[in-house]
């Protein structure tokens, strides 16, 4: 019996996964402060003299425990370290293209924060630009309590 050729068969399926990520004690305080006081917190490791964003409970370099006594306020202004414009849209993206995001080194922090950059033309951006956080008035306890960063007004 000759083996007839069968067309290539493909199966379409999808998986929906819901999860719930706990922030922990330090993380919870970070998000509550962000939402309620419009303040951004980092944690300082006194041994390494480094301020971490996101705030964390262990210093990766020296393994010291960091607690709420190690909170320091950082930002809300900072310096743009790098940036890009996303030109293509994917369903999973939080915004429709084109949109800009970058890494901002908040004043007082030693590590950067990735976030959207808005209220600016892409061609006017440069590394080293001073930017400030724009908070959401009706914030939830998530990173989107900051809507985006915009160029710091010149005074």
């Amino acid at each position: 019996m000759s083996d007839q050729e069968y067309p290539h068969f493909e199966v379409d399926q999808h998986i929906t996964v819901k999860s719930n990520y706990y922030a922990g004690m330090i993380g919870s305080q970070f998000f509550v402060t962000l939402r309620d006081e419009k303040k951004i917190l980092g944690t300082r490791c006194n041994t390494c003299n480094l301020v971490y964003f996101p705030p964390r409970s262990t210093c990766g370099r020296c393994f010291s425990k960091l607690t709420e006594d190690d909170f320091v306020e950082i930002g809300p202004q900072g310096t743009l370290e790098t940036f890009t414009k996303v030109n293509y849209s994917e369903p999973v993206q939080p915004r429709k293209a084109p949109f800009i995001y970058g890494i901002i080194k908040l004043d007082g922090a030693d590590t950067g924060m990735a976030h959207f950059i808005d209220e600016v033309n892409f061609d006017d951006l440069y590394v080293g630009m001073r930017v400030q956080a724009v908070f959401d008035e009706e914030a939830q306890a998530t990173m989107l309590a900051i809507k985006y960063f915009k160029p710091l007004e010149e005074k």
Binding site: D12, T16, K18, A23, M25, F31
Partner: protein, 159 residues
């Protein structure tokens, strides 16, 4: 002092997939969909007939060759009566409980197939070794998936 508010972030990931069935499974699923037939594949070395078919025999590491058309009747190897209302992924709705679920080896096959069993969920009415037959969806409802089998049911008159 008020207790620390503990924050959690709910997230959802919805991922679409398209899986290529491959050469042997394409034949199996198309024959199931179009002709309501079950095909197993034989290992030329040890003679095992595997259904669903796969390209390499896991024991002998040789290419399986030699299609075998299997019938629609087989033997119940194991079963359970499920009381948990688990979600049927093809409908998105929970199964009506209790329901029976089991493993059937079609005559001529060396491997078994798991599926729903259409029998009263009464431990006294189900026995390992019972003879079963496949009940398929009508042709127009079949899509080329093992859910084209609605369930297995006991062959009347055989104990």
């Amino acid at each position: 002092m008020t207790e620390q508010e503990l924050i959690s972030i709910p997230l959802m990931v919805d991922v679409p997939y398209r899986f290529a069935a491959g050469k042997y499974m394409s034949k199996f699923l198309i024959e199931l969909r179009d002709n309501g037939k079950f095909f197993g594949i034989r290992c030329p070395k040890c003679g095992r007939v595997q259904m669903p078919p796969r390209v390499v025999c896991a024991v002998c590491h040789v290419k399986n060759e030699g299609w075998v058309e299997l019938g629609h009747e087989g033997t119940l190897l194991g079963f359970s009566i499920v009381h948990l209302p688990l979600t049927d992924p093809t409908t998105g709705k929970p199964h009506e409980t209790p329901y029976t679920y089991g493993s059937v080896r079609l005559d001529g096959s060396d491997s078994a197939l798991d599926h729903l069993i259409n029998v009263e969920p009464d431990i006294n009415k189900i026995k390992v070794g019972m003879r079963m037959r496949v009940v398929l969806r009508p042709r127009e409802e079949r899509i080329g998936d093992l859910s084209d089998i609605i369930y297995f049911e006991p062959i009347a008159g055989e104990s």
